[in-house]
Symmetry: C2
Subunit: 179 residues, 2 copies
DNA sequence: TCACCTTATATCTTTTTGATATATATTATT
DNA sequence: AATAATATATATCAAAAAGATATAAGGTGA
């Protein structure tokens, strides 16, 4: 069987919700997947094209008045199978993080203490804001989508974001003290 | 002043330690930066070339017998300035994570409960192994490099890794229970 | 001694990102 | 009312980064 990258599977998964066009998929990603999987248009459009070429999805082109034309994609049985199959595989690699703060702190010897402290305080503040964002989304889901079939799983991923962010905030505090 | 990306600054920083060639830099990254900043050869070599072209570093080519020739890079004053200047700037973006497990769990509705449980158990196990790796590196630094000027900062970044990993492990446990 | 693995160095291809393009609709400002 | 700015909707393209492959030598085990 052909091999696809994880972003392709993410798009397959999103097509099981009612997002059909590249634009809609991008919206969905930005709203729901953003904290653990970002995808740009430059990936989405070529991927959709490939899905169609390889029979994992079908397209329908809609000519809309006043708007650019819109291509709607629908999963085929084969597409659903490929998604299911991927879901069954255990993960191949641990998550990768790129952390600019750690990178700067790593070379902290070339900074003054004040600079390092400022760096950490600023980071902490941004993390706290992020945490609040998570809480907001969580509340939104709990309020409006409680009976959505996917809601349960969405909340799990948010909980992950909250816990990890919380740990990072605690690290900031501890490191500020130790500096 | 020219703009550079963060990997360039990472390489500038590494050149302040005694790593001089592309190969050595890669080793250093894999050993010390890996958990928050991965860089491939495909970035390192072009970056070194550019550093030289723009006067941030100088090169010396050594012909070695029995081995490919080796280019050694040395930071110039300008290079040191550019690094210092970057260290002073606050962070521009929060760290980005790509988490395959969350991606799969997000589409958990298409899985059986057993599959999700297995996914989480497997993830948890990998995280625990990672945690142990951090502890190992931490011990190594504490034992051999306590008086290295950079050691303190290296330990901070490791502490971050440990705390965040710990939080992720706790999330696995909680989610397994809730499923 | 041959096959395989590791070290050391570097390049090339594919993926991904980030920026730009186009066209219309809507809202805000002078 | 005219103009400007912003948002929606769609898509492509150039540049950066990751991952795979290349080369050359040395070491190791059967």
């Amino acid at each position: 069987m052909q091999k696809y990258n994880d972003s392709t599977y993410a798009i397959l998964g999103i097509l099981t919700t009612n997002c059909r066009s590249g634009y809609e998929i991008k919206q969905f990603i930005d709203n729901s997947l953003n904290h653990f999987w970002k995808i740009s248009y430059g990936q989405i459009y070529p991927t959709l094209k490939r899905l169609e070429e390889e029979g994992l999805a079908t397209v329908q082109t809609l000519v809309q008045e006043g708007k650019p034309e819109r291509k709607e994609y629908f999963l085929t049985e084969k597409g659903k199978d490929v998604l299911k199959n991927w879901l069954e595989q255990p993960l191949t690699q641990l998550p990768v993080e790129r952390n600019e703060v750690l990178l700067k702190l790593f070379f902290g010897r070339h900074q003054t203490k004040e600079q390092s402290l400022y760096l950490l305080a600023d980071y902490k503040q941004k993390l706290e804001k992020l945490y609040q964002t998570y809480e907001g989304i969580e509340e939104g889901i709990s309020r409006h989508n409680t009976n959505h079939q996917d809601a349960k799983y969405w909340l799990f991923t948010l909980d992950y974001g909250k816990r990890v962010t919380e740990a990072a905030i605690a690290w900031c505090e501890a490191t500020i003290k130790e500096l």
